[in-house]
Symmetry: C3
Subunit: 262 residues, 3 copies
Amino acid sequence: MTRKTIWSDLQKLRETAPLVHNITNFVVMNTTANALLAIGASPVMAHAPEEVEAMVGIASSLVINIGTLSRDWIQAMELAMRAAAKKGIPIIFDPVGAGATAYRTETCLNLLRKTAPSVIRGNASEIMALVDSRIQTRGVDSSAAASTAESAAEALCHAYGCVVVVSGETDLVTDGAEKKYVRNGHAMMPKVTGLGCTATALVGAFAAINRDMLAAATHAMAVMGICGEIAAETSAGPASLQVNLIDCFFNLNGEQISRYLR
Amino acid sequence: MTRKTIWSDLQKLRETAPLVHNITNFVVMNTTANALLAIGASPVMAHAPEEVEAMVGIASSLVINIGTLSRDWIQAMELAMRAAAKKGIPIIFDPVGAGATAYRTETCLNLLRKTAPSVIRGNASEIMALVDSRIQTRGVDSSAAASTAESAAEALCHAYGCVVVVSGETDLVTDGAEKKYVRNGHAMMPKVTGLGCTATALVGAFAAINRDMLAAATHAMAVMGICGEIAAETSAGPASLQVNLIDCFFNLNGEQISRYLR
Amino acid sequence: MTRKTIWSDLQKLRETAPLVHNITNFVVMNTTANALLAIGASPVMAHAPEEVEAMVGIASSLVINIGTLSRDWIQAMELAMRAAAKKGIPIIFDPVGAGATAYRTETCLNLLRKTAPSVIRGNASEIMALVDSRIQTRGVDSSAAASTAESAAEALCHAYGCVVVVSGETDLVTDGAEKKYVRNGHAMMPKVTGLGCTATALVGAFAAINRDMLAAATHAMAVMGICGEIAAETSAGPASLQVNLIDCFFNLNGEQISRYLR
């Protein structure tokens, strides 16, 4: 990952405005759509089983997030993932709260077994819960360091042939062979709800224009962390951080990427 | 449309705080409710088939927005629209993403055929998709100029006996005979998710206190555009634009309307 | 209620970050989660009947809010409330829009009859509607003073053995015997959608770490009102008030509590 490749991907994203189809949770729908618009993508939210395949048909990537799952939504996720795999567009999967309830963990595993994703992004607990069902996590937060999930991440890469992102103070991005670390970010970010979901959506945006999933995911996480740092400089608390972060996605330039990337 | 009529409608809205019943999408529920409160209306969101008719019974207008539609919600929309027509309150219809999937287009046409609305507001692609099912749009965005949908807008007016608003850089508002143009607005507005939905909700607010639908819709679009311009002056990006826009709805006065209206 | 007890509860909240399980409405999910995170709690939203009991199993309190209710959600609320009562964690109930439709009022009464809550928080109309079904309220807003619902609040306390909070310019908090009044707050707060729901969620956070429900509810309402006043000082309108309020939850310190508490 170099400053140049992040910047050229971001430019491509803004020029082509790829359609990113999201089946995501109620908590973050608004902020996800705004984050995708600000970074340069074109978001669409659609979850009716009757239309998800058609929507995948005009999309450049698919983001699946189980944050507020229920029966009908799972059916839509399954249909959309199958359609995306058939069409050959990237599928980004966010196992929100895996390990918190058996229902979440099992839903994830059922979906993943039916259609392998291109990228899975979660926090350390969620990633570990997908590998070892004895892991019990606490709600949707995680304080565990990403490094604790390194071997679980590798196991997931091998099981599904996908890239795995483990979010934390330092993010880990791996395809099971190579490992990338993203050291940008700010301590106030976990105090904003759904920034993990935003990261997943950004991976969806970058994956739509760069079919090297390891690079796309790393670029997305770097942009997320860099903008979080820049936004935090002028934020009095988590709500203004949320506002400034999205403004920063919109304004991010090559000079900032060069200056902030660690 | 004069500065005076916009201002007197806005004053009436703030004095009477009409109840606007919204059946809308998950992405914009919060911002729609906040926009309606800020402009002076009293919003309520209710979608259970068991209660929508009763809620229409205490409402002054009904806003239907299919942005994240599914089976149960469509049933509720149908019941609410029928109840609103029977009661004689305005129905404002937003065909979000019509043309993106056949499911969206057909759902719109089914709802419209069963109960004619008072106003339809969409972007050019959505309005054209309601007239010509061969139109394929891309997600929920539209870059097409409102003018490209002039004849489609007129056709819709005649088909349903309603007013049609086509949003764009210049908004078109027509009842099939007269045409009004609203030239206010700002280039950053399409970078905020759901501002089209907000415009639709504002039409619902103005329609609740002014039964001349052509005037009500034009006033709402003017207020939307004026506040967008004022908000953009102090906004670093789309997220602060969203915040400033709602603050501006709350503070908008007659002097600003006079100064900004084009 | 003294400055000291509010501050010590707030410190305990931030140190322990209790998991607050919310089954709430679509309008406020994002702001509720952000408010809970900012004040120091750990929010989770989960509504699938298949998982709510398991989620209650790891939670420290349960918040039920019927703002955008429908059949499946009611079933989940019932299951979650029963599990919470069995586990012995506090249940906070928000009857949004009770009295606006019979469906809302009856749903509330059915849920309450099956499982008594620890705290009910509503505006005056909602509280009265739970006692006298002839009360017809207007949407989800209320302009009635909290004092008009004093006897209704007491009746609810006795019926369910719970604490009742009636929000208004002055908030009333009572267990049917003792009465506490919270005089903090700001006139612009009702112009922000869902701040009542935020208050309910804060009660859930304080109830998770202080099992004296009268104290917990009073502390939460005081924090809500104090932060509303502080936030309003620098807010141009309701959207910036929402942002500043959450920032203020995050930054609130003992000195501010002492200075602002009335």
